[in-house]
């Protein structure tokens, strides 16, 4: 792990009118690190993810990101063009519902190739070879390359979404409940796949989840949120095995043992 953080959030806050989205969140993510954001529904996890990925504009605080040239840039000062370039090259965003993150009417190959074409690839054969390579990496059979995602199962769609995001070798990936809505055995395989890709590619990941098992399997560090605030942070094992805050203790003790 490098000593310079990749992403820094300082005093981040968001209000939806009079209602609070999240408040005074500060965190750092280092290259190659997986950070889990956990908390119950309505605790501000998704708002936080939206703020970090510039999908939402903060009402307070700022987010800085270290660009490939080593410069630390305040994301709000980047132009829309620079931000969008960042979104489709250096970042990935895996949504809970794959239908939101995929083009459902476009074939699997087209979905994976879209980012490549967006950054200027203009050779059909190369785009297709790269798409096949990535489908193999996420365990989708090569003969499904021309099928559109409507013909895919939920787990396959989610794996396709991962391939589509990782094809430009991003450095930071945001995941919003990537295993939500999948059955347990499919979840386990998907988590295994994500864990493998993350370590192979040295990705930094910010993963939002309400599932503590997911956080334990994937993340190095975690942040516990409640009512829009961060109430506890620390190494995953430390937070889960020895929770300090009463709310975290409640959360940990609520997990059903199989």
């Amino acid at each position: 792990m490098s000593e310079h953080p990749l992403l820094i959030a300082e005093g981040l806050g968001k209000n939806y009118g009079a209602r609070l989205g999240c408040r005074d969140v500060s965190l750092e993510v280092y290259p190659g690190e997986v950070l889990a954001v956990v908390g119950e529904s309505g605790s501000g996890k998704s708002t936080l993810l939206g703020l970090l990925s510039t999908e939402l504009t903060p009402t307070a605080g700022r987010v800085s990101y270290r660009l490939r040239d080593g410069r630390l840039a305040d994301l709000s000062t980047l132009s829309a063009a620079e931000r969008r370039l960042l979104m489709r090259t250096d970042w990935g965003l895996i949504r809970q519902n794959p239908a939101d993150g995929l083009r459902m009417a476009v074939s699997a190959g087209g979905n994976v190739g879209e980012r490549l074409m967006a950054v200027g690839w203009r050779h059909y054969g190369q785009i297709r070879a790269e798409a096949l390579d990535w489908l193999a990496k996420v365990e989708i059979a090569g003969d499904r390359i021309d099928d559109d995602p409507r013909a895919f199962s939920g787990g396959m769609r989610q794996r396709l979404q991962i391939a589509r995001n990782l094809v430009t070798r991003p450095r930071l990936v945001f995941m919003d409940e990537p295993t939500g809505g999948l059955d347990v055995s499919v979840q386990a395989r998907l988590l295994d796949l994500i864990r493998g890709l993350v370590s192979d590619l040295g990705l930094a990941v910010i993963i939002v989840t309400h599932d503590l098992a997911v956080a334990r399997l994937l993340s190095h560090r975690m942040v516990v949120m409640r009512q829009g605030r961060v109430i506890e942070t620390g190494l995953t094992d430390q937070v889960l095995d020895d929770p300090r805050e009463p709310y975290t203790q409640l959360l940990v003790s609520s997990v059903l043992a199989a």
């Binding site: 074939s107 190739g113 074409m117 050779h123 059909y124």
Partner: protein, 304 residues
């Protein structure tokens, strides 16, 4: 003045309508001309304009008619074509409209016209710098079927993010083995904006490149005007390993034996008989008058 008007009232119950030159009022024409000037200044960019209701339904060339009305002068010679033909309903109706409202001369000869309004074709005869080609456009947004949100497509144009357009071509090759888009084939204008050339066959795309005539595009329902100024680079999008190709016809025109022109298929009977003839009727007639005869054609002197 009102007394005069009353005394000259015709006895018929039909009101005596005097149209302003070319139907539209002067303020409207000024508004459209401003949009046209902006469109010429930013080649390929879709300029919004306040399209008016025209006395014809949407889809019948209301956008093209408004652009024509705005550029037409009393000395202009107008030609109107629909799918290359001068004698189809849409062409006849619009030509009649301007004969009535602007009293301009009309022609079917491409070389004699100064303003040519077209639906779905570019004439075979090369255009010159004294001509304006006005296209009727149904859907001006090339990204529309890939990205339904107008706010998003405007962003994509503003930031020149045209990866999506290639996704469409990729899908074509993946499904059909070649780029199967044959009309409304997307082009990049002057190295910047990607533009829908209206539903012309891709056969006509190369004619837009470095064309000496001014090309104006009007979409009435969608309220957009865009333009290609004379001698502008127009590049049809493609892949390095699947380059842009135009349609190829196996046989020459059955009436005038022309090759290298766009042909229409005409069904002759219910036993599979068919022939391929020039879609550009003026071009075909001119060639027949010059004595060219195709395999199903009749020599000009015999026909007369």
């Amino acid at each position: 003045m009102s007394a005069q008007a009353t005394s000259s009232m015709p006895r018929s119950s039909m009101p005596d309508i005097t149209y302003n030159f070319a139907y539209l009022d002067e303020q409207t024409k000024r508004m459209i001309r401003r949009a046209i000037l902006k469109a010429i200044a930013v080649p390929g960019y879709q300029v919004p304009f306040a399209a008016r209701e025209m006395p014809m339904p949407y889809g019948w060339g209301t956008g093209g008619v408004q652009v024509t009305a705005a550029v037409l002068g009393p000395k202009d010679v107008l030609k109107v074509i629909d799918q290359g033909a001068d004698d189809t309903t849409n062409a006849v109706a619009i030509r009649g409209f301007f004969e009535k409202t602007a009293r301009v001369a009309t022609t079917t000869a491409t070389a004699d016209a100064t303003v040519i309004q077209t639906r779905h074709r570019i004439p075979e005869t090369a255009l010159n710098e004294n001509q304006i080609l006005v296209y009727q456009v149904p859907i001006p947004e090339p990204l529309r079927f890939l990205e339904p949100r107008e706010t998003e497509t405007r962003q994509l144009h503003a930031l020149a993010e045209y990866g999506l357009m290639h996704v469409k071509l990729y899908e074509d090759i993946a499904r059909h083995g070649h780029i199967a888009t044959t009309y409304a084939y997307p082009v990049e204008v002057a190295g910047r904006y990607v533009m829908d050339p209206s539903p012309i066959p891709k056969f006509d795309n190369p004619k837009m490149d470095d064309c000496p005539a001014l090309q104006l595009f009007g979409a009435g329902r969608e309220k957009r005007i865009y333009a290609i100024p004379p001698h502008t680079r127009v590049h049809s999008l493609d892949f390095e390993d699947h380059p842009f190709k135009v349609q190829h016809f196996a046989k020459p025109c059955a009436l005038c034996a022309a090759t290298g022109v766009y042909l229409d298929e005409v069904i002759l009977d219910d036993k599979g008989g068919r022939m391929f003839v020039c879609s550009d009727t003026d071009y075909c007639n001119t060639r027949q008058a010059q004595g060219h005869v195709g395999e199903l054609g009749v020599p000009a002197e015999d026909a007369a």
